[in-house]
C-alpha cells in the first residue's frame, strides 16, 4: 500500500483505520511505514479517503506478497483454494472426519489479536513443534513456505516479512496433549516477539459432550467458555 502524495489532503482520517498503526506523518507528508504495513488492504477497502489517495501497487513483489496472502482475507491462497490464512479445520469435520476421537487438533495462531507477527517467529514455532514430533496439517498455507520438512525451517528470504497472522496446525494423540500444551505454552511465553492464540480441536463423544474440557481444567488450563462447535448438520 502507498499514499499518492499528489492526491492526499493530509486530513489524517485514514490514520486510525490501519490495524498495524502503520500510517504516520513524516515531514508534513502522510505516509505508510513500509516495514509495519502487512498489506491487509483495510485502509483502501474501508473507503476512508475521499480523494482515493490510498493505493496498491499493480503487483506486490515476492517475498513481500506473502504479507498480503496472510493478512488480506480476500486473497485466496493458491495451495489451498481457501481464502484466509488457515484450513477448513473442524468447520467441515462432519464431512471429512479429519479430527477423530482419541486425537486432539491444535492451532497456534501467531500475531493475533492485533499485534502482527514476523515470519521468523513462525519459523521458531514450526521448528519447535517439529522437534516435538508432530506432523503438520498439509493443506495449511504455511506448509508450502517450509524449506526443510524435517526441521520445519522456513525459506530464509521470507523470515523478515510481517503478517497479521499465520497459523500452525497439527494433530497429536490425546494422551500426549496435556503435557504437550504445557511445553508449548512455556516455549511461546519465553521465545516469541509477538502474541499467539492456542486452540484445541476436540471430537465430541456419542452424547455430544467434550470430556477433554474437564481434563483441561483439571490440568490447570482455563479454556474459554465460548467455542466454535460443528453441530453435525452435514450428517442429517
Amino acid at each position: 500500500m502507498y499514499i499518492d502524495q499528489n492526491l492526499c489532503k493530509k486530513c489524517l482520517d485514514c490514520r486510525p483505520v490501519c490495524p498495524m498503526g502503520a500510517i504516520y506523518v513524516e515531514t508534513e507528508r502522510v505516509t505508510i511505514d513500509y516495514e509495519a504495513c502487512v498489506e491487509c488492504g483495510v485502509c483502501q477497502r474501508y473507503g476512508i479517503c475521499p480523494e482515493g489517495a490510498i493505493k496498491q501497487v499493480e503487483e506486490i513483489p515476492y517475498p513481500r506478497v506473502i504479507r498480503a496472502v496472510f493478512s488480506d482475507p480476500l486473497t485466496t491462497h493458491r495451495s489451498t483454494g481457501i481464502g484466509g490464512r488457515g484450513t477448513e479445520e473442524m468447520k467441515t469435520n462432519d464431512v471429512t472426519n479429519q479430527y477423530k476421537r482419541g486425537w486432539i487438533g491444535f492451532s497456534v495462531e501467531l500475531g493475533r489479536p492485533g499485534v502482527g507477527a514476523y515470519l521468523r517467529d513462525l519459523d521458531k514455532v514450526l521448528r519447535k513443534v517439529k522437534s516435538m514430533g508432530v506432523e503438520l496439517a498439509r493443506d495449511n498455507p504455511v506448509v508450502p513456505l517450509i524449506a526443510d520438512p524435517e526441521t520445519g525451517a522456513l525459506r530464509s528470504e521470507i523470515l523478515n516479512e510481517k503478517v497479521l497472522s499465520a497459523i500452525v496446525e497439527f494433530v497429536i494423540e490425546e494422551e500426549r496433549a496435556l503435557e504437550f500444551i504445557r511445553e508449548l505454552k512455556t516455549f511461546l511465553n519465553e521465545e516469541l516477539e509477538t502474541v499467539a492464540t492456542v486452540s484445541v480441536i476436540v471430537r465430541a463423544d456419542q452424547q455430544g459432550r467434550f470430556p477433554f474440557l474437564e481434563r483441561l481444567r483439571e490440568f490447570g488450563e482455563a479454556p474459554y467458555p465460548n467455542a466454535k462447535i460443528n453441530i453435525g448438520m452435514a450428517l442429517v
Binding site: 484466509g84 500475531g111 492464540t197 480441536i201
Partner: protein
C-alpha cells in the same frame, strides 16, 4: 470465522448472548453444492441476523446468496438464540448436506442442539493468548477487536471512535457501524460493539 472462538468478554453467567453461525461446504464440493449454499444463505437471511458476510463491504442482501454459492460459505451474527434455533431447525429440515458451525457459549449451543435434535460433533476451544501479552490493548478494546477473526478491526480506530463519542461528535451506535465495516465476514456484532463503546466512553469520560 476461524477465530471467533477467541472472542473475549463472554461468560456462562450471561447466557443467551450472541451466536455466530457459519454454513460451509468442503472446498472440494464447492461446485456441486452451489444450490445448497444459495439456499442456506437465503435461510440465514430470513432469521433476523444482525450482521452478515458481505454487508460491511456494501453488498445488498439480495446479492449475498449468489456470493455464498460462489464462495461456499455464509457467516452471520445473531443476538437472539431463538432466531438461531429456528434457523437450525429449518436448515435441518432442508437436508442440504452442508456443515454448520455455531460459535458461542457451550451452554447456549447445547440448548440449541438439544431443541433441534442435533448433537455436537466437534469443538474448537481456545486456551488463551500467550507470548508478549503486554503488547495487547486493554481488555474492552480486545472485546471489540477480537470480534473480527481476521484482526482487521484496528484498536487505534476503537480509541479514535471513543474520543469522538466523548467529544459529542458521534453516538455509540454510529461508532459501532464504523467498527463493523472492516470485518468482511460480517461477524462483528453491532449491538454488542455499541454496548462496549458506551462502557469505554463512560470509563474514559
Amino acid at each position: 470465522m476461524t477465530h471467533t472462538l477467541n472472542r473475549r468478554g463472554l461468560s456462562e453467567d450471561r447466557s443467551g448472548q450472541e451466536i455466530i453461525v457459519l454454513c460451509m461446504v468442503h472446498h472440494k464440493e464447492k461446485e456441486q453444492k452451489q444450490k445448497a449454499m444459495e439456499e442456506a444463505a437465503c435461510t440465514v437471511l430470513r432469521h433476523n441476523p444482525d450482521n452478515v458476510i458481505g454487508l460491511p463491504m456494501g453488498m445488498k442482501e439480495k446479492d449475498i446468496p449468489a456470493l455464498s454459492a460462489r464462495a461456499g460459505i455464509v457467516t452471520a451474527v445473531f443476538n437472539d438464540p431463538q432466531d438461531v434455533l429456528s434457523l437450525v431447525k429449518e436448515l435441518k429440515a432442508k437436508k442440504l448436506g452442508i456443515s454448520v458451525v455455531l460459535s458461542g457459549l457451550f451452554g447456549d449451543v447445547r440448548k440449541i442442539c438439544a431443541r433441534s435434535g442435533l448433537t455436537e460433533h466437534t469443538a474448537n476451544i481456545s486456551l488463551g493468548i500467550f507470548g508478549r501479552t503486554e503488547r495487547l490493548p486493554e481488555e474492552p478494546i480486545l472485546e471489540i477487536t477480537t470480534q473480527c477473526g481476521h484482526a482487521l478491526v484496528s484498536p487505534h480506530l476503537v480509541k479514535h471512535i471513543v474520543r469522538q463519542i466523548l467529544k459529542g461528535k458521534m453516538t455509540p451506535e454510529e461508532g459501532a457501524r464504523k467498527l463493523v465495516k472492516p470485518c468482511v465476514c460480517g461477524i462483528v456484532n453491532p449491538q454488542r460493539t455499541e454496548r462496549i463503546l458506551e462502557r469505554l466512553a463512560k470509563k474514559k469520560g
